[in-house]
Amino acid sequence: MTFIKKTLASSIAIAAAAALAATSAQAEISDGEVRIGYLADMSGTYRDLAGPGGLEALRMAVEDFGGSVNGAPIEVFSADDRNSADVGANTVREWVDTRNVDMVAGMVASSVTIAVTNVLEANDKLGIISGSAASSITNEHCTPNHIHWVYDTYPLANGTAKAIVDQGGDSWFMLTADYAFGHALEGDVTRVVEESGGEVVGGVRHPFPTDDFSSYILQAQGSGAKIIGLANAGADTVNAISTAAQFGVVEAGQQLAGLLVFLNDVHAMGLETTQGLLLTTGWYWNMDDEAREWSERYYERMNRMPTMVQAGVYSSTMHYLKAVEATGSDDATTVREYMMEQPINDFFARNGRLREDGRMIHDMYLAEVKSPADSTGEWDLYEILATIPAEEAYRPLSESQCKLVQN
């Protein structure tokens, strides 16, 4: 009898202890390590935008955090996605299956990002996207397992178009890349221009990708519009801007509005070609003391000034690590909830807030590319003209198609 009682009592105790261990394990850091995978284009067209620089920014964040969270070391590994969705998805799947990755950072090409977020959702891991432009990532493709940090096409189109019309650029000619991304961007710009009282007088669609923009630029010149809007990206934008410079578009009085232009593009093309270009950016290295101080530390390591994407990788990783520290967990849902509760104000994000659709909204900036005469150095490229408040810049939740938003 006593024997039975004893065994019963001890088995209850064991069961209770096991249950306790199970509950406390949930609130712990899995495997005693925080594992961060950095996935980006390391060798292709987006190399300078994100690439090895983003990885360095991530390492800086981990070092500045002290290399460990609540005693659990932070492990960082990286891979090149070669801008291919299957390479990206495959890599992350492998990280999940064999290395138990906790968070995936970086991600540029939208096809890679959407593929990766599908894998993350299926395995309940967290992704923080810094490189992608597509606003669909937190709209129809939103998942409870990812966060979009730096920018998307909505504020780029919105901010640039509205500010330009307000400054008197009220007639537009649209140069659009002929695929879904270009069409969406063109639609956004047209809507904003018309709502702000401007007019789109014409447009032309070019195949994706295009090398020779001469005939399109000639049409744009012939249209008599004050502003030529470039609803394209990457090499197409670079080619269009270079061709416009050769045709003397800016000297003749028309202005170019780049919707997807990054610091590295302007740096590569040079001020002679890009001067006067208007664009919206999420961050600029020289925008204030805090940004400058961080950028100079980055410059010492990479010998280049950071793009907004690279700065965003640092900022988002810091916010993530703080959330892991505060919650004592690396579980995706727990961490994401905490990240949503905390406002974000650092050298990168001002008035930042993480919405339930995964969109981190923060102040955006309208910038103009300096003329060579005004520039004081190799990286002195932008002049910030105006700040676009966070709440105005991004797509309002009331227009969201995200399954996490109740409309």
């Binding site: 070669r82 998805a89 495959n90 096809s111 959407i114 593929a115 695929y179």
Partner: protein, 327 residues
């Protein structure tokens, strides 16, 4: 009786060669069956799908002497059709999806082949490239492909309605079976009278015509089989990765399969398999190493070295060495 006796040593040698070959195939199948316990299954599935793609391409280049520069179109067509069907009609089983995807690639192969085989050499390559680019622009515009975002969230589903493919191991054996079927088709085609005629056309087309063969029909059939197998690879790949993207339709993919085939050994049965494994493994390993930035440069260097120093590819060189030293 006398004739049988004189033939015996020849037949005996033939029998031994067959036995050796069968033992070799059996050993490879055993390796394939055990592989997922050693390496990561999804990676192996990627190798197998690309190996099948390269085998399909090799059937055309290695045995019919036709250099197609547009095989990405068939890979992508198989992938997109299967992906679209499986994600739009949830009741559909994966094997049906693969069948329809392969069928679509076969139809496209008939259309492209009928046009392309009218020309030879560089013109043939240019025609196939142009047609494949046509498909690329179609896929970037067509609403069902998701444009540059790609087609995502394709369910793996249940094979024949009752074997769940959600486990990587089950998926691997399914892919392995598909690869074996595809490889067997190539093997049979090459060693059949049909394959002999193809080789004759490759060596000397006018002579094949003068012997009374309907050369165009043979070429077209080879083209269609090759397109169908490429589509099969694409369909399978879509189910493995649960996505189809423009990468598969891009002309880079047509170039990559040429690289795989030439590296492994064109006109050998195992060359494309070795080449595909090598290229995919290199991409995979380099992408995660600090040398990641140099993937394309390293692959380029390997290709240059291969073309300059061992022209018949890795397997081609091994076969040459074997023949020189052991026969």
């Amino acid at each position: 009786m006398a004739t049988t006796q004189t033939l015996t040593p020849v037949m005996e040698r033939q029998r031994r060669a067959n036995m050796r070959r069968n033992a070799f195939y059996l050993a490879l199948i055993v390796v394939g069956l055990l592989a997922p316990f050693v390496a990561y299954p999804v990676f192996l599935m990627k190798v197998l799908t690309f190996a099948l793609f390269a085998c399909a391409f090799n059937l055309l280049l290695g045995y019919a002497g036709l250099l197609s520069f547009g095989h990405a179109a068939f890979l992508a067509t198989g992938g997109y059709v299967t992906g679209y069907l499986l994600s739009s009609y949830p009741g559909l089983t994966p094997e049906l999806g693969i069948l329809v995807g392969t069928g679509a690639a076969v139809l496209l192969g008939v259309a492209f082949g009928a046009l392309a085989i009218r020309r030879q050499g560089i013109y043939f390559a240019m025609v196939t490239l142009a047609l494949a680019q046509l498909m690329f622009f179609f896929y970037i515009q067509a609403p069902f492909t998701g444009g540059e975002d790609g087609l995502h969230g394709v369910p793996r589903g249940d094979l024949f309605g009752f074997i769940s493919l959600r486990s990587n191991l089950a998926m691997y054996y399914f892919v392995f079976a598909i690869f074996l079927i595809g490889f067997a088709i190539v093997q049979r085609a090459v060693h059949s009278p049909f394959g002999q005629v193809l080789k004759a056309i490759r060596e000397n087309e006018p002579r094949a015509v003068s012997l009374g063969y309907n050369v165009d029909a043979y070429k077209l059939l080879a083209f269609v089989i090759s397109a169908g197998l490429a589509g099969l690879a694409g369909s399978t790949k879509t189910i493995v990765f649960q996505l189809a993207s423009l990468t598969d339709a891009h002309w880079h993919m047509s170039g990559e399969v040429i690289l795989m085939t030439l590296l492994g050994g064109v006109g050998t049965l195992f060359g494309p398999v070795v080449g595909a494994s090598l290229v995919v493994s290199l991409q995979h390993m380099l992408a995660q190493s600090p040398m990641g930035n140099w993937v394309n440069v390293i692959l380029g260097l390997i290709f240059v070295i291969c073309v300059l120093s061992f022209r018949s590819g890795i397997v081609g060189e091994i076969i040459k060495m074997y023949r020189k030293n052991f026969r």
